[in-house]
């Protein structure tokens, strides 16, 4: 229960920044933050006040290859390999060409979407709290509709994955170029209905860069946001993205 008394609220904000709240208390604050700018401001103030304390931790030399790993992530160095372009999955929709997908992409501006950053922040602060997935289900798209999405890294228009989907079939993800994945990490695909509180996991992307998701767990629709986050091997332990979102795109209806 987040207190209403201003002094107590400020103390809770300080405890949040110290990192000493129990998982459930922390999760409660994470949930409240988007609608409570005063609490967010109190937390931001504590982050600034206490930051100099970090100088008490002695600096240490990071492993020599750390910068290379960071750079590989940024540039999209190989590990998830592109799969053959031909679709073989029995449930796959008729494949849309990459060029067609590019043409349909439009100026989605998905990386300016605040929700991605909220989830990224959530990932950084939520921990292992068990949060219920609440995905607002909407009316299904017309029978026979197909969709396509290109998943791109931030600040770049070089898609790493193409997703094709049909409302009656599965969701097929194909790597279109080498995607950055760090040794010991997995990439996980998430879907988020616009306005939904939480993204829902569609599964871990295998190293061969191609997989088919059974789409019955959610309803496809135009504008559905797809995200790829970096997770511990085997996928997120919490049911929510815990690592950074490295690729994102929106489903666009093709017919």
């Amino acid at each position: 229960m987040i207190p209403t008394d201003p002094a107590e609220r400020d103390a809770v904000a300080g405890e949040y920044v110290l990192g000493i709240l129990e998982a459930a208390e922390r999760a409660e604050i994470d949930r409240a933050l988007p609608g409570d700018p005063a609490l967010a401001a109190a937390i931001a103030a504590w982050e600034i006040h206490l930051a100099p304390l970090s100088r008490l931790a002695p600096p240490a030399a990071p492993p020599a290859d750390l910068w290379d790993r960071i750079q590989a992530l940024m540039k999209g160095a190989a590990s998830v390999s592109p799969a053959p372009a031909v679709s073989t999955a029995p449930t796959s929709p008729s494949p849309a060409s990459l060029a067609d997908a590019r043409a349909r992409r439009g100026a989605a501006g998905i990386w300016r979407n605040a929700a991605i950053w909220r989830w990224s922040t959530l990932a950084a602060t939520t921990g292992a709290a068990c949060l219920a997935l609440v995905v607002a289900l909407r009316p299904a798209a017309p029978v026979g509709a197909t969709f396509v999405a290109l998943l791109e890294p931030p600040q770049s228009a070089a898609p790493a994955f193409m997703v094709e989907a049909a409302d009656r079939g599965g969701v097929v993800l194909t790597a279109v170029r080498s995607a950055a994945v760090v040794t010991g990490r997995s990439l996980e695909l998430w879907g988020a209905v616009p306005g939904a509180a939480r993204p829902i996991s569609l599964g871990v992307i295998p190293a061969e860069g191609r997989f088919v998701v059974d789409a019955h767990t959610f309803v496809l629709e135009d504008g559905l946001m797809l995200l790829v986050s970096q997770e511990p091997t085997g996928g997120s332990p919490t049911g929510l993205p815990t690592g950074p979102v490295v690729y994102a795109g929106r489903l666009t209806k093709t017919r």
């Binding site: 002094a7 400020d10 103390a11 300080g14 405890e15 920044v17 110290l18 990192g19 000493i20 129990e22 998982a23 931001a44 982050e47 600034i48 006040h49 206490l50 930051a51 100099p52 304390l53 970090s54 100088r55 008490l56 931790a57 002695p58 600096p59 240490a60 030399a61 990071p62 492993p63 750390l66 910068w67 790993r69 960071i70 750079q71 992530l73 940024m74 990386w111 950053w117 990224s120 990932a123 950084a124 602060t125 939520t126 921990g127 292992a128 931030p154 600040q155 760090v182 010991g184 990490r185 970096q230 511990p232 332990p237 919490t238 815990t242 690592g243 950074p244 979102v245 490295v246």
Partner: protein, 191 residues
């Protein structure tokens, strides 16, 4: 690259802010400079909390990717570059220790119990920048035990119950110490 260089005599935070701004314009050399300037310090912060080099490495790697991606959201007018960087790394590190049981994170004997010293003398490390001097002055007005609890939480990433264990004190007492310490700190910092 004008934005990536600091004015002579500028506070270090100004350099960092300029580098973060350059990252938001996809300037990779700016991220590299941030890494050269702050990588060791941020790695030290992560290592202090997660206690295991491999985990600290993952934390800093994820943090730098997040710095790159979120650079545009940093507002130098409202934020503080050092705090922004530290916050990203700390939350990731705290998240990592919560995901893994802490017991398995203390397997490196070189990372034993050399816990952070919170004596006024040790706090001189905070000097060097304006905000650090102010925080130090305010921390010194706290009761020793309140100060120590806050430092153990922030720097070592210990939870309430871990601090209680370490100081052999009931959990409720530790919670009260920290709460009282934060309240006094707030009053001092805002006057």
């Amino acid at each position: 690259m004008r934005a990536a260089t600091a004015e002579p005599g500028a506070e270090p935070g100004d350099t960092l802010a300029a580098l973060i701004a350059a990252c938001s314009r996809s300037d990779q050399t700016a991220l590299r400079r941030l890494y050269d300037l702050e990588g060791g310090r941020l790695y030290g912060i992560a290592l202090r909390i997660v206690r295991r080099p491999a985990v600290a490495t993952d934390v800093v790697q994820d943090a730098f990717l997040q710095i790159w991606q979120k650079a545009a959201s940093f507002d130098p007018a409202k934020g503080n570059a050092e705090a922004w960087l530290v916050t990203i790394v700390r939350y990731r590190a705290l998240d990592a220790v919560r995901r893994n049981a802490r017991e398995v994170l203390t397997d490196d004997p070189t990372l034993g119990d050399d816990r952070i010293d919170a004596t006024p003398d040790a706090l001189s490390l905070l000097e060097g920048r304006r905000d650090g001097a102010r925080l130090r002055a305010c921390l010194e007005t706290l009761e020793e035990i309140n100060r120590r609890s806050i430092v153990l939480a922030f720097v070592d990433g210990l939870s309430h119950s871990e601090i209680a264990d370490r100081l052999a004190t009931p959990l409720g007492t530790v919670k009260a110490w920290i709460r009282r310490g934060l309240a006094s700190l707030k009053t001092c910092l805002e006057t």
